[in-house]
Symmetry: C2
Subunit: 151 residues, 2 copies
């Protein structure tokens, strides 16, 4: 069973090499792909945040590692790929909740998107308060350490 | 440009017909697909919440409507597809933040997942506090009305 997707938009920003950290300063434009009409963005600026689903298209096709130490750091526990957010994962799907700064025609401008220049976007969904996590979020200690320079 | 994906897991639950509302009572199991080793779930129970990215595989292939009134309700403003979360969308990707209840071997049990029985899952990511929306979430009034019976 295979599922075929076509990019609905592309990312434009100043970062062309995959990098782990310091994303806060990167402002990105997302421009609709040719086959998507401009009206697909109608009313989008009534939302403050968007979930951007994208494709890590620059990955090397190495053999998949299904469990490992996050960022190869032996101080972090051995963790399965679905307990990590790293890009080398089955289907190579990225997901980030970005802040919408501006909308003009076929382009939106966003902050807090961790995707490099040229990245194909698969979907954009508005953040609804009603879809926020229910109850308190619990995560292991290594996450805060790994994320300390991310933004 | 086409991108090919293969399901990494499948949803099992008691809802077999696509339905808009009342998801809170539906507990789902997500079982890894055959080609994914069990270790992909190692350590997953150290997280309370998971982002489940899935494929709306039961959609009719009607012509895509790129802007419309959410749920066909004329009281809601005309809104582009990327300002809505409805399933009839380019690439038919669903996304929901579920609460993890239990992990045993190749299966996890979750609450607050709005996908029906048999749904192919494309990715599972742990919720990191550091990836939560930055700043206050703003959304138009129609969203709370549309979502009032969702959970």
């Amino acid at each position: 069973m295979e599922i075929n997707f076509k990019p609905i938009a592309f990312v434009k920003n100043s970062r062309s090499v995959p990098t782990d950290d310091h994303w806060e300063s990167i402002i990105a434009e997302i421009e609709l792909a040719e086959h998507i009409p401009t009206e697909a963005f109608s009313g989008i600026s009534t939302f403050s945040h968007l979930e951007i689903i994208y494709h890590f298209d620059k990955l090397n096709k190495n053999e998949m590692v299904y469990a490992g130490h996050p960022r190869g750091n032996k101080n972090y526990p051995l963790t399965g790929i679905f307990g990590q957010r790293k890009k080398d994962r089955p289907n190579a799907i990225g997901l980030c909740t970005a802040q919408l700064l501006e909308h003009a025609g076929r382009t939106i401008k966003v902050k807090y998107l961790d995707a490099i220049d040229g990245t194909p976007v698969l979907d954009i969904k508005p953040v609804f308060k009603e879809f926020q996590p229910k109850g308190e979020i619990r995560q292991p200690e290594w996450v805060s350490d790994l994320m300390k320079n991310y933004w």
